[in-house]
């Protein structure tokens, strides 16, 4: 195998059990993903205890399938990487316990990986990351701008102060009677409508890179409830389009300002909501128009959701920087990158 490095990577932070084998941090040999969406759809959202129980049903099978599909023997591996946070603690613990056990049994180094670093490194399967870089991370649990001055250095320069963008999508989806998760549905509906409601764009012009989506969510819900009360029928396509436009406008304008103020070479879009077509298209056209020199990398659609491959990519970089954990590794459900809100002033 020469100098090539093979990592077995395990992800179980929310409602997907995933195990991948990744070569040199940029080549996916296998990426087993078992999704629990059908289960949590029953409850209108992820139920942590149910999620934890599903993970333990899948985890050993996932390891075995990932190795077999990659045609890799445990002896060929160089390390085991695992998501240890942020996420649901009971869910994380299944991945962490399995990773420690497997690494111990095969005498392999254990690499702890921040789930958000994983999302960013999904972009590594498109092309190398060039520093300094900025990542826009948008998911059901997070909306944040992460500045990366150098490899393996992550600084949050702005994040949501209340709901994550994906969370707001799910909540208004419920009001529209959509199944969980509602993001894809709303995105599709939005493409057929127009921004006629002109919902608020919170914090758009504030002198920081933070976001807020709870006011928008409330404005949306009030509009729908008020119409219900007076027996007025609102156009669902226009509602979806107006909501999405408000989310996208704020995210894109803040991201643009951050790109301009930081001397970055590359912008990375990642996280579950990075699959949103409205967001992808608007960022594309903004960059083409205003920041034509900037290299814009979107995480591949298949790797926007939670998966082990992205953990393997981030784990490879962490390993190159000498990071490892011992057998006391624990889950850290509220793990986050360092804050550096003043990076751009």
């Amino acid at each position: 195998m020469g100098t090539s490095k093979l990592i077995l990577a395990i992800e179980s932070s929310c409602d997907e059990t995933s195990v991948a084998v990744v070569k040199n941090g940029n080549e996916i040999l296998s990426n087993f993903i078992a999704t629990q969406i059908d289960s949590h759809q029953r409850f209108g959202g992820v139920v942590p205890e149910v999620a934890s129980r599903h993970h333990i049903e899948q985890i050993t099978l996932g390891i075995d399938q990932a190795l077999k599909k990659a045609a890799v023997e445990p002896d060929d591996l160089d390390a085991v990487a695992v998501t240890y946070g942020p996420g649901l603690v009971g869910a994380l613990l299944v991945g962490v316990s399995a990773a420690k056990s497997f690494a111990y049994a095969h005498n392999l180094p254990l690499i702890p990986v921040n789930h958000m670093a994983g999302h960013i490194y999904a972009a590594r399967f498109v092309k190398p990351i060039v520093f300094p870089s900025l990542a826009l991370l948008v998911s059901g649990g997070h909306t944040e701008l992460v500045y990366m001055p150098a490899e393996n250095v992550f600084k949050i320069i702005g994040e949501t102060r209340d709901d994550a963008a994906g969370e707001a999508y799910d909540k208004i989806g419920r009001v529209l009677g959509m199944k969980y998760p509602a993001g894809k549905n709303i995105d599709e509906l939005a493409h057929q409508g127009h921004d006629t409601f002109n919902f608020p764009r919170a914090m758009e012009h504030d002198d920081n890179f933070d976001f807020s989506f709870s006011g928008l969510k409330s404005a949306f819900i009030n509009t729908v409830h008020h119409a219900d009360q007076i027996g007025e029928e609102l156009d669902r396509k226009d509602l979806a389009a107006s909501f999405q436009q408000s989310v996208v406008d704020v995210i894109v304008s803040k991201t643009k300002r951050a790109c301009e103020q930081l001397d970055i070479k590359q912008l990375i879009l990642a996280g579950g909501v990075a699959a949103n077509q409205g967001l992808r298209e608007t960022l594309d056209s903004m960059i083409k128009k205003d920041l034509p020199e900037l290299d814009f990398v979107k995480a591949p659609l298949k790797l926007c959701g939670d998966n082990g491959a992205m953990i393997g990519a981030a784990g490879y970089v962490a390993m190159q920087h000498g990071e490892s954990a011992d057998l006391t590794l624990n889950a850290d459900p509220s793990l986050e990158f360092d804050w550096e809100p003043d990076a751009v002033r």
Partner: protein, 242 residues
């Protein structure tokens, strides 16, 4: 046969390594520390103290529940992954049956854990030597119903629990048969006994499908089933997408 046995189903954590019936090393802790951080290091120490390597282990025995859901998942995930990785046999044993082994005398034994709101995880066993017969299956049950079961059996009972004081009054008011109890140190799980139980058991668990014996569906699923009595799904709610 070299055996690794462990239990993290409650506050205590107990690990043992056996060579057939012979104890090589054991360690039990009873501190409110995180099992996730403690279990693997203690397994490693216990195996090393025994002069063995994890790859020498032929059979892994785990206390599969009932107990703390998180504790059970740490133990069962560790057990099934280790068994898979070193190609060892996997055996699951009831956490309550394990506690019943602490009783040194023959008779009726009722090990239980406090499950809050007047409920317990409990089973009722009859002990003759090291042989246990199940009289009432392990279950999540109100403490009152447990006492009714014991009254029906009509023989003296020995409770084994670290939560005895929470239920003393209830026992004094409701129980009509004579009772005694083991608590404190005597009610902690002993992984050596777990190893012995696992040595005698012949039903192997499948390392892929093994899950804890929670003995209780989640509240969300219970409510959902109440609201959707006719919605029966064949197979798993989990789908492999890649």
């Amino acid at each position: 046969m070299k055996i690794l046995a462990f239990d993290t189903s409650n506050v205590a954590l107990s690990v043992a390594v056996l060579d057939n019936e012979h104890l090589l090393a054991t360690q039990t802790t009873n501190i409110k520390r995180n099992h996730s951080s403690q279990l693997m290091p203690i397994i490693d120490q216990t195996i090393k103290t025994s002069g063995l390597d994890i790859n020498d282990i032929d059979r892994i025995v785990v206390a599969e529940g009932p107990g703390s859901y998180t504790g059970l998942r740490i133990a069962v995930t560790t057990a099934k992954t280790l068994a898979y990785a070193v190609n060892a046999e996997l055996i699951g044993v009831s956490s309550l049956a394990l506690l019943a082994q602490n009783d040194t005398q023959d008779g009726i034994v009722a090990p239980f854990f406090n499950a809050r709101q007047g409920n317990v995880f409990a089973g009722i066993y009859e002990k003759k030597g090291s042989k246990l017969t199940t009289l009432v299956e392990d279950q999540h049950i109100s403490f009152e119903d447990l006492l009714n079961h014991i009254n029906q059996i009509g023989k003296p009972v020995n409770f084994i629990t670290t939560d005895f004081e929470d239920f003393r009054e209830s026992i004094e008011n409701t129980l009509v048969v004579p009772s005694s109890h083991l608590d404190g140190w005597n009610a902690l799980p002993n992984a050596y006994f777990l190893g012995l139980m696992g040595l005698k058991k012949n039903e192997l668990e499948n390392v892929y499908t093994a899950v804890p014996q929670y003995l209780r569906v989640t509240e969300a699923e219970r409510n959902w089933k109440d609201q959707h009595p006719n919605d029966v799904r064949s197979g798993s709610y989990v789908r492999q997408i890649d």
